[in-house]
């Protein structure tokens, strides 16, 4: 009780939002060790997927080709902002629709980088470096940083927010990053400010990350950025929730925050920007948290993109053998539920041997039975309202569940399903263990489809109406012609002249009428 009261009092001064949940943080064990660079893995699997589901990168290298570190591997034909570089030297051994596999040679032969040597760097140079490095947002969505900067700059960027609020349990890659590379993050944030011409810069850290807060004090003194502390609850790090906490401004789901001149960038992105601008280094690695109770030494890795997740886990003392034995003994392939890629609240359960580190991979979790029990059978919704209290965007999840089950389109819309950010706070607190997020995702998909269908059918109807009017006009013309059969008057100059004069008069009349 006392600790709750103290927390309540102190949080009056922190940037916060209504709703949210406080799952146990579980990062202490992981943060005991410093960020470690990984050894060069034998094989790397680079994803060719992009932030948009439909688009894929096109490889510019051939199968069997030897590549060097930092070499461009794939790009998008229309969109030069999307680009992929080789994390290490080696040979291309496989190319599929989604992935590109490199067999590393272990030599790490790199192309020479051209970093900036001058202290003063122009805005154009920063933008060019960021664009060339192929940096995408490291928080989750993977939206190209350069696009976001341009969007914010064109809207007249007011503020840059560096998002270091990783609010999910287990995830601590940003905390470790700031703890150990605070000056680079701050410098990168300044480059971002310069690039977007933002008026102000904020670094937002959750109040319980004491080491990160302490580490960033010194570099902040020499910069124009300010530090703001956030209440330590989930989902403080969601882009819109973060903006709401810091500025009080609520950005509806139909508008991108950058369109309002608010540029939110992840702390890891800021570090990548620093590397790109200062060293000229493309984005080929990121910091990944590898955590979970089954690991002997959970830690944060500075991992090359494409590093297989199974390698990361084995470097942390994960026992693959006992695992596979167990799963074969059970006669069931259960491995897929043992690993979570991303945080435990928004991440997805994945198969260990199919996953590798991407620019958006924040965390890999080896699950255990205590923290991640089998969800068990779902009970009936008792309308307890825990979900409504937890919802950070003020929805009524229990009502949305009802409407999702009945697929009540009108009420789904009027209760704001489109505003749902799928943070999963509702499903976390649900005592009946109802997979609420799954229901909402399904309903959203159906709504999207039906909206697309409706717009298409409306388009068709409109075309049909136009066609009908055209047909009607043509028919009337025909009838008219039929009713007035060949009243052919012999051509005469007078007739023609008077007709022309009449037509001119009509046009003049029309024009003067329009003017009035």
């Amino acid at each position: 009780m006392l600790s709750q009261a103290v927390r309540w009092l102190t949080e009056r001064r922190l940037a916060s939002f209504s709703g949210g949940i406080r799952p146990p943080r579980q990062t202490r064990r992981t943060l005991r060790s410093r960020v470690m660079a990984t050894p060069i893995p034998q094989r790397l699997f680079l994803s060719l997927t992009t932030y948009s589901k439909q688009e894929r990168l096109t490889p510019v290298v051939r199968l069997g080709e030897a590549v060097r570190k930092y070499q461009c591997l794939a790009t998008h034909l229309q969109d030069s902002d999307l680009i992929l570089h080789a994390p290490t030297s080696g040979m291309i051994t496989a190319i599929s629709r989604d992935t590109l596999e490199i067999q590393s040679d272990g030599l790490d032969q790199a192309l020479t980088l051209r970093g900036s040597t001058t202290e003063k760097i122009t805005q154009a140079a920063i933008l060019e470096s960021i664009g060339r490095a192929g940096i995408v947002g490291q928080g989750g969505a993977g939206y190209p940083t350069i696009k976001k900067i341009r969007l914010a700059a064109s809207a007249g960027a007011k503020v840059l927010i560096v998002n270091a609020a990783e609010c999910e349990p287990f995830v601590c890659c940003d905390e470790a990053l700031i703890r150990e590379f605070a000056d680079q993050v701050v410098k990168g944030a300044e480059y971002l400010m310069q690039a977007s011409a933002a008026d102000a810069g904020i670094i937002a850290i959750e109040s319980d990350k004491l080491e990160a807060i302490a580490a960033i004090q010194e570099p902040l003194k020499a910069s124009s950025l300010t530090l703001r502390l956030l209440a330590a609850k989930y989902p403080a790090g969601d882009e819109r929730i973060l903006i709401k906490s810091l500025t009080g401004q609520e950005i509806p789901d139909s508008v991108h925050p950058a369109e309002r001149g608010i540029l939110v960038q992840n702390a890891g992105t800021a570090k990548a920007v620093f590397d790109a601008v200062k060293l000229g280094q493309p984005s080929i690695s990121r910091i990944v948290t590898v955590a979970g109770a089954p690991l002997k030494t959970p830690k944060n890795f500075s991992a090359l993109l494409g590093t297989p997740v199974s390698d990361l886990l084995s470097w942390c003392g994960f026992e693959h053998e006992s695992h596979s034995e167990k799963s074969s003994a059970h006669f069931q392939h259960t491995d897929h539920s043992k690993i979570i890629v991303g945080g435990p609240l928004t991440g997805r359960r994945a198969e260990m041997f199919r996953e590798s580190v991407q620019q958006t991979t924040t965390c890999v979790i080896a699950t255990d039975k205590i923290n991640f029990p089998a969800s068990g059978p779902e009970h009936a919704c008792i309308r307890c309202g825990f979900c409504a209290d937890a919802c950070p965007v003020g929805l009524l999840p229990q009502q949305l569940l009802l409407y999702s089950r009945n697929f009540d389109e009108h009420n789904l819309n009027s209760h704001g399903l489109h505003s749902c950010i799928e943070c999963g706070a509702c499903a976390y607190v649900c005592p009946s263990k109802i997979p609420l997020v799954q229901h909402y995702r399904q309903s959203k998909a159906i709504l999207r489809d039906s909206a697309a269908e409706r717009s298409e059918s409306q388009l068709r109807q409109a075309r049909y109406r136009h066609w009908q009017t055209r047909q009607g006009k043509a028919a009337r013309r025909q009838v008219k012609q039929a009713a007035e059969p060949e009243r052919e008057t012999p051509f005469s100059r007078e007739n023609a002249k008077s007709e022309i004069a009449e037509a001119v008069a009509r046009v003049k009349e029309k024009k003067s009428g329009n003017r009035q």
Binding site: R349, A380, G394, G424, A427, P435, L459
Partner: protein, 372 residues
Amino acid sequence: MNEHQPSPPAQLAAHRTADLMRQVILAATPAALISTWYFGYGVVLNLLVAICFAYALEASALYVRRRPIKHHLADNSVLVTAMLFALSVPPGIPWWMIALGTGFAVLLAKQVFGGLGQNPFNPAMAGYLFLLLAFPLEMTAWHVSETVIDPASGHSVLGLTSFREQLELLFPGLIFSSFDIDGLVMATPLIESKLASQSALMSAWSEGRSLLARGSGTGWEWINVAYLLGGIYLIVKRIITWHIPLSILSTVLGWSLFFYSPEQSAIVGTPYLHLFGSATMIGAFFIATDPVSAPTSNPARVVYGIIIGSCIYGVRVWGSYLDAIAIAVIFGNFLAPLLDHVLRPRIFGQISHSRAAPASLGQASIENTVHE
């Protein structure tokens, strides 16, 4: 749903519906014990009979509906319903009345609507109200053994004699064919005050007798204190929120203060009597907070509490019925869906909860393209 690709979040909070129900039962247990202390074994016997019938009826209803019986019984909700019902009915009524009320609660008020989560009315109160309408006399008579009133007789309310007496009342003519029942029927203090007689509580108070002693013929206030403490426990444990109980209690207090005058206290009651003299606390903390039949957004909860509180006071003072909680709660249940619909929280990024569907945006753009 789909077992192979479980959706996020992968990590879930530890509490479950069954645990919440268990906490409610735990919070009500002290009050049940104090009730037993004052009213004798009848309370426990009522509880046992109600729980047995409730489980049997729920299981058979689930069997008929072809639902997994064990899975649904495991959520403990039927236990809470039976417990609240049994604690609401006076001890000393025959078993078949309890069976009837429980049956109404479990079958008609809950299972007919589709089981847990679907019932528009609080099952326990629906069952209670049914009995109140059918057997008004029995339902307002809180039987207290003669021995309680007269400590000189040497019997204890928890003694063997009174146990047999209670059994006889519960199963009339079944066990002990001719047992002389020396009993006294007394109503709740508030009801007594309504009947314009000085309540046992008031007399005990004015005579300076210890309120803790059973012989004082009081007990309601201690039961209410127990419910109050149990309710605070539930709030601290975050099983219920403060909105409904606080708004009910403050509304009842507000009305009783507003209409209070010392000369008329025999008719309109005192604020103290309104809060502690009857079933106000169990109503405010345990019955009105039933999440299934209450509204879910916090502003709606406050309005719901105000409505129930006003209804409690109105029925007690101006109504013809002697017990107000059940009527008030059922009345509130009627309004809960409307409150939920009208008093929605504001959605993030919207000025007010607008009824404009986003689909209309799509329509507009299509029309523009067509007209161009």
